[in-house]
Symmetry: C2
Amino acid sequence: MLIWFIYQYMNYRIDNLQYCNWNRKIFEINRKANLDAVHVTVVYHEDYDEFLVEVKKWEKLFNENSDLIFPGKNFTDIQKAHQEKKTAIFFGFQNCSPIEDDINLVEKVHELGCRFMQLTYNNQSLLATGCYEKNDSGVTNFGREAIAEMNRVGIVVDMSHSAEKSTLEAIEISKKPIAITHANPAFWHSAKRNKSSDLLKTLGESGGMLGLSLYPHHLKNNTNCTLESFCEMAARTADIMSVKNIGIGSDLCLEQPDSVVEWMRNGSWSKSKNYGEGSKKKPGFPKQPIWFKDARGFENLEVGLKNVGFSSDETKGILGNNWFNFYKSF
Amino acid sequence: MLIWFIYQYMNYRIDNLQYCNWNRKIFEINRKANLDAVHVTVVYHEDYDEFLVEVKKWEKLFNENSDLIFPGKNFTDIQKAHQEKKTAIFFGFQNCSPIEDDINLVEKVHELGCRFMQLTYNNQSLLATGCYEKNDSGVTNFGREAIAEMNRVGIVVDMSHSAEKSTLEAIEISKKPIAITHANPAFWHSAKRNKSSDLLKTLGESGGMLGLSLYPHHLKNNTNCTLESFCEMAARTADIMSVKNIGIGSDLCLEQPDSVVEWMRNGSWSKSKNYGEGSKKKPGFPKQPIWFKDARGFENLEVGLKNVGFSSDETKGILGNNWFNFYKSF
């Protein structure tokens, strides 16, 4: 009875992927959007020492904006954030470069706040294969060791940018549910970064989470994607995997200069330019759809999801409660 | 006529892979063996900064043993060494870790003397797949970029520890001949590190070199391998690939403590112990065969190779001239 009562009133808002050019204004927007938690990308291709530099930058941000944000370590910080009307910030990596080739660094980055780590960005990593490689050899020897260690210390395996076979193997190898924090189903919009229905089915059955992305390159019709189309896609995704395994990972990159997306795609591995999801004509960050310019778009999502038939509880689940429950698992 | 005259008397001795615990005594042994050049492994899993430390150690060795060794940069240094009765030392890497994830470091390591770089050690690297992985996805996106850059600056692609598909792709992608500096044919002794006849055929046809290994784990009957068996294997290898593409890469690890072979195999990627070519019962360095305890064994090889039917020129080729000619290509 008590559990039912609590569940009834549980109403967390979580955006499980943002990579903004952080400043007070953005934290204020996230608060206006009632976000209790945000999983933020703190590094892409940085090594361990460079990650330490980012941690220092975040310490400054936490100090200067302590009325708006604080570092999140586990699900109780989401409850605390909700009570204090603040946003708990959870660190994540979009590549495994901070652990370099050292299994012992997994525990170190966890101590410093890392809670999500992608095994790959777009290319092959030491752990697995990225979705922009020609061939996918799956999880490597070091990858198996790293997943076991991530399971042990409590870092979620994130396969958002990984290739399919690698992702299926990660699901199988990991003793805890994994996440695809920011991607959409390929049935709706075919893109290297979007995921097959088979993969989503396996992910859902394993207890893993999909964070639906609002990044225009992952959306049907890009910037011109409609709210209706997005929410219809969510409904069809819920036919493939349980609605309880669906959340939001907006992939918002507010106020980032285009030089950043160039670096995200190229790192330092190529002498020629790689445009990733963009093109030579459109190399920069794409414009957000009008109904999701920033996290305040969660309000539009709430309306849109209900309009396509999701119940109030299901909608609350997608907009945060499902991620909250998932956070309890690590 | 002049070329014939020079060729007739060309008689270089080259060991194209040693990883010893370097000291004056070993340099003296190499001189007693009349080695004009040695390709030495300077790093396995070290990153760029750690490679710089090794370069400093070598500067000290060069200074303290300038009557015996000097740094080799190209084939003319082999001629110089031969004239001065010294050994030219060429730097090589057994993993690509010193270039980290930065294409620009390829030129930097070349400037510091690197002339051979393995795209992988036993595991998956950012460039290709090692022979101890379950699956081989071939040369990666970064791998293609790195090979082009290695071709440009003059670093030989070495696939000694790589998996087969990766090796075949490297041969195809590289605009310059590649090398397998230290391995043997699998038809003679089946081991993860030894190479298939198909691969050796393709390697030879592409102008690439195979350095036959004297490391016991690569030998039929390990430490008890006979000189006759080894030289018979060389003769059968010369039926697969031209004798001009065969040399020696002894893989001598003189005076190394067993802690080093443990580190070579495990790096820092695993929390459990990996025994590589060894086993739990025999975790350390294996003993060399009695006829190749150190580089002075080249004398035995000369006798043995002639005994199985190689001509004087062919024998000279295998023992050094072939590598000398290969060094002209980069």
